[in-house]
């Protein structure tokens, strides 16, 4: 445990001035800016009846994040965290220190999780700020709603409304972080690669389960709030559309993942499979 803390403190210094650190702010802010632009320009045509613009805005942003940006962000983020030690073969220097390897790996995962937390907080802050700027444009009626939803209904309702979105946006991300990490650190001569394969498989399964679970939750919440859904005139989670985006996202992410992998392994001084 002591070693893990030492490794985390070392990792903390290592991440100074890196792209990984900047990316934790850039990625969520990019989503916010894009979504805000869309909402501000065309939001009025999508908003119908007395649907809360807060719910619409938050959901759109979260979905964009969960389906497209988060997988890409996590892939790139973990790759950058891993690449830091691959680039100049720093692994060999780390592994000859009197410290357990799991502390080093653990610190890496914790560093990525910290970046993830940072980006999540940035995203949530962005949602709040973005939603607060919206009333500048007349017609939204956003000022009639508080930040968790309609002021005419209890806030708990709206939290429940958006709960599945929060779940699907954030729950599987830590799992994805580990998934990516186990794939970066797989080496040809490493005995643990078989464990890693099993690990990845089980993780893929859990990502799928979480996604399916949040989907279920959505359906349930839709039926529970059927009237609200009908009144808002829109289906909140059109499954077909969602699946299409998810599949595309998966393909893009896999491609991206492969690119990142070659980024790590194909540079001239790439990791020596004999060493690790």
């Amino acid at each position: 445990m002591n070693q893990l803390i030492q490794a985390i403190r070392s990792e903390q210094l290592k991440q100074k001035r890196t792209l990984a650190l900047r990316l934790a702010f850039i990625a969520p802010l990019a989503i916010i800016v894009l979504q805000f632009y869309l909402l501000y320009q065309n939001g009025l045509t999508y908003l119908e009846g007395d649907q809360s613009p807060w719910v619409y805005w938050t959901r759109q942003t979260l979905q964009f994040w969960a389906l497209l940006m988060a997988p890409l962000f996590i892939t790139l983020e973990t790759a950058l965290v891993a690449q830091l030690d691959h680039k100049q073969q720093c692994w060999k220097q780390l592994f000859v220190l009197p410290i357990s390897r799991w502390a080093i790996y653990g610190a890496k995962i914790i560093a990525s999780l910290a970046f993830l937390a940072l980006s999540t907080l940035t995203l949530l802050a962005g949602i709040l700020v973005g939603g607060s700027i919206c009333p500048l444009k007349a017609g939204f009626g956003i000022q009639r709603f508080n930040s968790v939803g309609r002021c005419t209904k209890p806030a708990r309702d709206c939290v429940y409304w958006l709960l599945p979105d929060y779940c699907s946006a954030f729950l599987d991300s830590p799992v994805l972080v580990q998934l990516c990490h186990s794939s970066w650190y797989r080496h040809r001569h490493d005995r643990s690669r078989y464990i890693c394969y099993q690990f990845r498989f089980s993780q893929l399964l859990s990502v799928g389960l979480i996604r399916a679970g949040s989907e279920q939750l959505c359906q349930r919440s839709i039926s529970a709030h059927a009237i609200t859904a009908i009144r808002s005139g829109r289906r909140c989670h059109p499954s077909g559309w969602r699946m299409a985006v998810f599949t595309t996202g998966c393909i893009v992410t896999t491609q991206f993942h492969t690119r990142c992998r070659s980024l790590i392994t194909n540079n001239k001084k790439g990791p020596d499979v004999r060493a690790l």
Binding site: Q3, Q6, A7, R9, S10, L13, K14, K16, R17, T18, L84, K87, Q88, Q89, C90, W91, K92, Q93, L94, F95, V96, L97, P98, I99, S100, I104, H189, K269, R274, A275, L276
Partner: protein, 305 residues
């Protein structure tokens, strides 16, 4: 008789169907500078990686400070400093921060950073990004990292690789200083034979994964014979004279003879005999074979057989 700091017993490592290191029995005495020599691909780096526990041996065992590495990895590694091939550093950090990254991973005191920076003479550039360092500075930073934990054993893999002559001299000075000043045993590998010859006290020669020679540098020299090269005016008569006195020789080129000798005084004896026989000696050279020659004899002999 000093004790051995590093011993390996029948150390073997196979990669798929290639045996990189074969039945290696190394003995590195305390306080020595052990030069580990071999051509590229001989198994030097593989051996060093096994010594550091970066890869596991297929067979055999590594004992450092009298303890088996596999069983007491942490306590053994705590007393070793290493620089394997190119130095490992983070380009986006300063030299000082680089050392701090590694210091934070262990319990070494903070003052060590200033100490090692001074030792490798990087104090002036400690706050510059490593990206802007020259090759020699990076290499010295690597050495500083190796020395950070006050090691008793320093393992260096090709420490002068890719350096210019000035950089090589600098590193060489530093390495020779260490055993004297700090009582560190140095194990260093190289394919630059002249390099090792100048600083090592003990030598191990590896080729194709087999250990060809191991022992003190002087033992290596005594194992191979010196030569006296003479240039004479009448070659055939000179040969007769040498035959009569029982010298072994080879004729190399016009009027030149290479005679096997054991000491410098042999040269005087040969000269006297030739001159007394009325042969003019134009040129006489006592040649002590360099490590390079010894190395070539040792390795070529193997290739032929």
């Amino acid at each position: 008789m000093s004790t051995d700091i590093v011993t390996t017993t029948n150390l073997t490592r196979r990669f798929d169907d290639v045996t990189a290191v074969n039945n290696l029995n190394l003995m590195v005495p305390d306080g020595s500078i052990y030069g580990f020599l071999g051509p590229n691909g001989a198994g030097k780096t593989t051996t060093i990686r096994m010594l550091l526990g970066l890869i596991h041996p297929s067979e055999g065992e590594v004992c450092i400070f009298g303890k088996p590495l596999s069983a007491e990895r942490k306590s053994v590694l705590a007393r070793i400093g290493s620089l394997v091939e190119s130095p490992a550093y983070y380009e986006h950090l300063t030299g000082r921060e680089n050392l701090e990254v590694f210091r934070r991973l262990t319990d070494w005191p903070k003052s060590r950073i200033a100490d090692v920076l001074k030792l490798v003479r990087l104090t002036d550039v400690q706050n510059r990004l490593v990206r802007t360092y020259s090759m020699g500075m990076k290499q010295r930073l690597g050495l500083a990292m190796a020395l950070l934990g006050k090691p008793d054993l320093l393992i260096l893999d090709e420490p002068t690789n890719g350096l210019d002559p000035a950089g090589i001299t600098e590193i060489r000075e530093l390495i020779t200083r260490l055993p004297q000043e700090q009582g560190i045993t140095v194990f260093l590998s190289s394919h630059l034979l002249s390099e090792v010859e100048q600083i090592a006290t003990h030598i191990g020669i590896i080729q194709n994964g087999y250990l060809r020679f191991q022992g003190e540098l002087s033992a290596l020299h005594s194992e191979t014979n010196e030569q006296v090269v003479v240039k004479v005016n009448r070659l055939n008569e000179a040969k007769q004279v040498l035959d009569q006195s029982g010298w072994k020789y080879v004729s190399n080129g016009a009027q030149k003879l290479s005679i096997t000798a054991h000491s410098a005084s042999d040269a005087a004896v040969i000269n006297k005999q030739l001159v007394q026989a009325g042969i003019d000696v134009y040129h006489l050279l006592w040649e002590r074979p360099s490590l390079e020659d010894i190395f070539l004899t040792l390795t070529n002999g193997e290739n032929k057989s």
